[in-house]
Symmetry: C2
Subunit: 135 residues, 2 copies
Protein backbone atom coordinates (compact mmCIF):
# COMPACT_ATOMS: atom_id res chain seq x y z
CA UNK A 1 0.00 0.00 0.00
CA UNK A 2 1.19 3.52 -0.71
CA UNK A 3 2.57 5.35 2.24
CA UNK A 4 0.46 8.55 2.11
CA UNK A 5 -2.77 6.59 2.40
CA UNK A 6 -1.58 4.58 5.37
CA UNK A 7 -0.59 7.88 6.96
CA UNK A 8 -4.08 9.23 6.44
CA UNK A 9 -5.69 6.16 7.95
CA UNK A 10 -3.69 6.59 11.12
CA UNK A 11 -4.11 10.35 11.36
CA UNK A 12 -7.83 10.20 10.62
CA UNK A 13 -8.10 8.08 13.73
CA UNK A 14 -6.04 10.46 15.84
CA UNK A 15 -2.88 8.36 15.84
CA UNK A 16 0.60 9.65 15.14
CA UNK A 17 1.99 8.19 11.94
CA UNK A 18 5.21 6.65 13.18
CA UNK A 19 7.28 4.43 10.94
CA UNK A 20 6.54 1.45 13.15
CA UNK A 21 2.81 1.99 12.92
CA UNK A 22 2.95 2.43 9.16
CA UNK A 23 4.87 -0.81 8.86
CA UNK A 24 2.57 -2.78 11.14
CA UNK A 25 -0.60 -1.43 9.53
CA UNK A 26 0.73 -2.23 6.08
CA UNK A 27 1.57 -5.71 7.27
CA UNK A 28 -1.94 -6.27 8.57
CA UNK A 29 -3.55 -4.92 5.41
CA UNK A 30 -1.50 -7.13 3.13
CA UNK A 31 -1.68 -10.40 5.06
CA UNK A 32 -4.79 -12.51 5.43
CA UNK A 33 -3.13 -14.78 7.96
CA UNK A 34 -4.84 -13.35 11.06
CA UNK A 35 -1.46 -13.20 12.77
CA UNK A 36 -0.61 -13.11 16.47
CA UNK A 37 1.66 -10.42 17.92
CA UNK A 38 4.47 -12.94 17.90
CA UNK A 39 3.92 -13.81 14.24
CA UNK A 40 4.06 -10.14 13.28
CA UNK A 41 7.22 -9.71 15.32
CA UNK A 42 8.79 -12.72 13.62
CA UNK A 43 8.35 -10.96 10.26
CA UNK A 44 9.04 -7.39 11.40
CA UNK A 45 12.14 -8.13 13.44
CA UNK A 46 13.32 -4.54 13.71
CA UNK A 47 10.23 -3.51 15.68
CA UNK A 48 10.23 -4.42 19.34
CA UNK A 49 7.60 -6.81 20.62
CA UNK A 50 6.38 -4.18 23.09
CA UNK A 51 5.72 -1.81 20.21
CA UNK A 52 3.86 -4.51 18.32
CA UNK A 53 1.59 -4.95 21.32
CA UNK A 54 1.25 -1.20 21.91
CA UNK A 55 0.40 -0.54 18.28
CA UNK A 56 -2.10 -3.37 18.04
CA UNK A 57 -3.82 -2.07 21.15
CA UNK A 58 -4.12 1.39 19.58
CA UNK A 59 -5.38 0.02 16.28
CA UNK A 60 -7.97 -2.07 18.10
CA UNK A 61 -9.03 0.91 20.23
CA UNK A 62 -9.79 3.02 17.16
CA UNK A 63 -11.51 0.13 15.39
CA UNK A 64 -9.09 -0.40 12.49
CA UNK A 65 -8.20 -3.85 13.75
CA UNK A 66 -10.12 -6.49 15.68
CA UNK A 67 -9.08 -9.37 17.89
CA UNK A 68 -10.04 -12.97 17.27
CA UNK A 69 -9.61 -15.44 20.09
CA UNK A 70 -9.85 -18.86 18.48
CA UNK A 71 -9.58 -20.32 21.97
CA UNK A 72 -7.42 -23.06 20.62
CA UNK A 73 -3.89 -21.77 20.97
CA UNK A 74 -4.22 -19.31 23.84
CA UNK A 75 -3.03 -16.44 21.69
CA UNK A 76 -4.86 -13.43 20.34
CA UNK A 77 -5.09 -13.16 16.57
CA UNK A 78 -5.38 -9.77 14.89
CA UNK A 79 -7.34 -8.87 11.79
CA UNK A 80 -7.42 -5.67 9.74
CA UNK A 81 -11.04 -4.61 9.77
CA UNK A 82 -11.36 -2.35 6.72
CA UNK A 83 -14.80 -3.69 5.89
CA UNK A 84 -17.01 -5.31 8.52
CA UNK A 85 -17.05 -9.07 8.13
CA UNK A 86 -17.45 -12.25 10.11
CA UNK A 87 -15.25 -15.28 10.60
CA UNK A 88 -15.69 -18.93 9.76
CA UNK A 89 -13.35 -21.18 11.69
CA UNK A 90 -12.54 -24.72 10.60
CA UNK A 91 -12.60 -26.63 13.87
CA UNK A 92 -10.18 -29.24 12.61
CA UNK A 93 -7.53 -26.99 11.12
CA UNK A 94 -8.30 -23.78 13.06
CA UNK A 95 -8.13 -21.95 9.72
CA UNK A 96 -9.95 -18.62 9.85
CA UNK A 97 -11.90 -17.52 6.77
CA UNK A 98 -13.25 -14.00 6.27
CA UNK A 99 -16.80 -13.69 4.92
CA UNK A 100 -19.22 -10.82 4.42
CA UNK A 101 -22.23 -12.39 2.73
CA UNK A 102 -24.58 -11.66 5.58
CA UNK A 103 -26.56 -8.57 6.51
CA UNK A 104 -26.16 -7.82 10.21
CA UNK A 105 -28.94 -5.21 10.40
CA UNK A 106 -31.61 -7.64 11.67
CA UNK A 107 -29.17 -8.94 14.26
CA UNK A 108 -28.35 -5.40 15.39
CA UNK A 109 -32.04 -4.62 15.71
CA UNK A 110 -32.61 -7.77 17.75
CA UNK A 111 -29.70 -6.87 20.02
CA UNK A 112 -31.01 -3.33 20.46
CA UNK A 113 -34.40 -4.68 21.45
CA UNK A 114 -32.94 -7.21 23.85
CA UNK A 115 -30.56 -4.82 25.56
CA UNK A 116 -31.67 -1.24 24.97
CA UNK A 117 -28.11 -0.40 23.97
CA UNK A 118 -26.94 1.51 20.95
CA UNK A 119 -25.11 -1.14 18.97
CA UNK A 120 -21.60 -0.20 17.94
CA UNK A 121 -20.05 -3.36 16.56
CA UNK A 122 -20.03 -7.13 16.42
CA UNK A 123 -17.86 -10.18 16.39
CA UNK A 124 -19.23 -13.32 14.79
CA UNK A 125 -17.41 -16.63 14.63
CA UNK A 126 -19.04 -19.55 12.91
CA UNK A 127 -17.53 -22.99 13.51
CA UNK A 128 -17.61 -25.78 10.98
CA UNK A 129 -16.00 -28.98 9.80
CA UNK A 130 -15.08 -30.28 6.38
CA UNK A 131 -18.03 -32.31 5.02
CA UNK A 132 -15.80 -35.21 4.03
CA UNK A 133 -14.00 -35.39 7.35
CA UNK A 134 -14.98 -38.64 9.03
CA UNK A 135 -17.76 -37.82 11.51
Amino acid sequence: MTEPLLRDILQNHGLKATSQRLTILDYLMTHETHPTAEMIHADLTTISLATIYNTLEKLVDVGIVIVIDTQKDGKRHYDFYGEPHYHIINSRTNEIIDADNFDVKPLFEAARQASGLNITGFHIEIYGVDPDDAK
Copy 2:
Protein backbone atom coordinates in the same frame (compact mmCIF):
# COMPACT_ATOMS: atom_id res chain seq x y z
CA MET B 1 -30.57 -28.49 40.19
CA THR B 2 -31.23 -32.07 41.18
CA GLU B 3 -28.21 -34.31 41.25
CA PRO B 4 -29.45 -37.16 39.01
CA LEU B 5 -30.07 -34.83 36.09
CA LEU B 6 -26.63 -33.24 36.35
CA ARG B 7 -25.20 -36.76 36.37
CA ASP B 8 -27.08 -37.57 33.19
CA ILE B 9 -25.86 -34.45 31.46
CA LEU B 10 -22.26 -35.41 32.15
CA GLN B 11 -22.64 -39.08 31.29
CA ASN B 12 -24.61 -38.37 28.13
CA HIS B 13 -21.55 -36.47 26.97
CA GLY B 14 -19.17 -39.27 27.90
CA LEU B 15 -17.81 -37.64 31.05
CA LYS B 16 -17.45 -39.34 34.41
CA ALA B 17 -19.75 -37.78 36.99
CA THR B 18 -17.29 -36.83 39.69
CA SER B 19 -18.42 -34.74 42.62
CA GLN B 20 -16.25 -31.86 41.45
CA ARG B 21 -17.80 -31.88 38.01
CA LEU B 22 -21.31 -32.03 39.43
CA THR B 23 -20.55 -29.09 41.66
CA ILE B 24 -18.98 -27.00 38.90
CA LEU B 25 -21.72 -27.77 36.38
CA ASP B 26 -24.38 -26.91 38.93
CA TYR B 27 -22.57 -23.67 39.65
CA LEU B 28 -22.49 -22.74 35.97
CA MET B 29 -26.16 -23.60 35.46
CA THR B 30 -27.31 -21.53 38.41
CA HIS B 31 -25.16 -18.43 37.89
CA GLU B 32 -25.63 -15.95 35.07
CA THR B 33 -22.46 -14.13 35.95
CA HIS B 34 -20.32 -15.56 33.11
CA PRO B 35 -17.58 -16.30 35.63
CA THR B 36 -13.86 -16.78 35.11
CA ALA B 37 -12.03 -19.85 36.43
CA GLU B 38 -10.79 -17.74 39.31
CA MET B 39 -14.31 -16.53 40.18
CA ILE B 40 -15.57 -20.11 40.29
CA HIS B 41 -12.64 -21.11 42.45
CA ALA B 42 -13.35 -18.23 44.82
CA ASP B 43 -16.83 -19.63 45.42
CA LEU B 44 -15.97 -23.34 45.31
CA THR B 45 -12.92 -23.18 47.52
CA THR B 46 -12.69 -26.90 48.16
CA ILE B 47 -12.03 -27.65 44.49
CA SER B 48 -8.50 -27.04 43.30
CA LEU B 49 -7.93 -24.42 40.63
CA ALA B 50 -6.35 -27.04 38.37
CA THR B 51 -9.54 -29.09 38.54
CA ILE B 52 -11.63 -26.01 37.75
CA TYR B 53 -9.55 -25.51 34.61
CA ASN B 54 -9.56 -29.23 33.72
CA THR B 55 -13.31 -29.47 34.14
CA LEU B 56 -14.07 -26.32 32.19
CA GLU B 57 -11.92 -27.63 29.35
CA LYS B 58 -13.89 -30.88 29.27
CA LEU B 59 -17.24 -29.09 29.42
CA VAL B 60 -16.19 -26.82 26.57
CA ASP B 61 -14.92 -29.79 24.54
CA VAL B 62 -18.30 -31.53 24.69
CA GLY B 63 -20.20 -28.30 24.03
CA ILE B 64 -22.01 -27.89 27.37
CA VAL B 65 -20.12 -24.69 28.09
CA ILE B 66 -18.66 -21.98 25.89
CA VAL B 67 -15.91 -19.44 26.36
CA ILE B 68 -16.38 -15.71 26.04
CA ASP B 69 -13.32 -13.54 25.67
CA THR B 70 -14.47 -10.00 26.36
CA GLN B 71 -10.95 -8.91 25.48
CA LYS B 72 -11.09 -6.36 28.23
CA ASP B 73 -9.75 -8.13 31.29
CA GLY B 74 -7.48 -10.76 29.75
CA LYS B 75 -9.45 -13.58 31.33
CA ARG B 76 -11.70 -16.21 29.82
CA HIS B 77 -15.31 -16.14 30.91
CA TYR B 78 -17.37 -19.32 30.90
CA ASP B 79 -21.05 -19.70 30.09
CA PHE B 80 -23.37 -22.68 30.44
CA TYR B 81 -24.73 -23.24 26.96
CA GLY B 82 -27.96 -25.17 27.54
CA GLU B 83 -29.76 -23.28 24.81
CA PRO B 84 -27.90 -21.59 21.97
CA HIS B 85 -27.79 -17.86 22.44
CA TYR B 86 -25.69 -14.84 21.67
CA HIS B 87 -24.06 -12.18 23.80
CA ILE B 88 -24.51 -8.46 24.03
CA ILE B 89 -21.61 -6.73 25.74
CA ASN B 90 -21.87 -3.24 27.21
CA SER B 91 -18.60 -1.64 26.16
CA ARG B 92 -18.59 0.72 29.11
CA THR B 93 -19.36 -1.72 31.91
CA ASN B 94 -18.28 -4.97 30.20
CA GLU B 95 -21.56 -6.49 31.38
CA ILE B 96 -22.50 -9.55 29.33
CA ILE B 97 -26.17 -10.09 28.49
CA ASP B 98 -27.56 -13.34 27.07
CA ALA B 99 -30.10 -13.05 24.25
CA ASP B 100 -31.76 -15.50 21.90
CA ASN B 101 -34.18 -13.39 19.88
CA PHE B 102 -32.44 -14.05 16.62
CA ASP B 103 -32.68 -16.91 14.15
CA VAL B 104 -29.21 -18.04 13.11
CA LYS B 105 -30.34 -20.26 10.23
CA PRO B 106 -29.75 -17.62 7.52
CA LEU B 107 -26.32 -16.91 8.98
CA PHE B 108 -25.47 -20.62 9.01
CA GLU B 109 -26.57 -20.92 5.40
CA ALA B 110 -24.43 -17.92 4.42
CA ALA B 111 -21.44 -19.42 6.23
CA ARG B 112 -21.96 -22.77 4.54
CA GLN B 113 -22.05 -21.08 1.14
CA ALA B 114 -18.96 -19.01 1.88
CA SER B 115 -16.85 -21.84 3.24
CA GLY B 116 -18.25 -25.18 2.08
CA LEU B 117 -18.08 -26.38 5.68
CA ASN B 118 -20.76 -28.15 7.68
CA ILE B 119 -21.60 -25.59 10.34
CA THR B 120 -21.46 -26.90 13.89
CA GLY B 121 -21.79 -23.85 16.10
CA PHE B 122 -21.43 -20.13 16.51
CA HIS B 123 -20.27 -17.40 18.83
CA ILE B 124 -21.81 -13.99 18.44
CA GLU B 125 -20.88 -10.96 20.48
CA ILE B 126 -22.66 -7.67 19.86
CA TYR B 127 -21.10 -4.57 21.36
CA GLY B 128 -23.11 -1.56 22.45
CA VAL B 129 -23.21 1.50 24.68
CA ASP B 130 -25.90 2.97 26.88
CA PRO B 131 -27.90 5.52 24.81
CA ASP B 132 -27.67 8.17 27.51
CA ASP B 133 -23.95 7.78 28.03
CA ALA B 134 -22.29 10.96 26.84
CA LYS B 135 -21.08 10.25 23.28
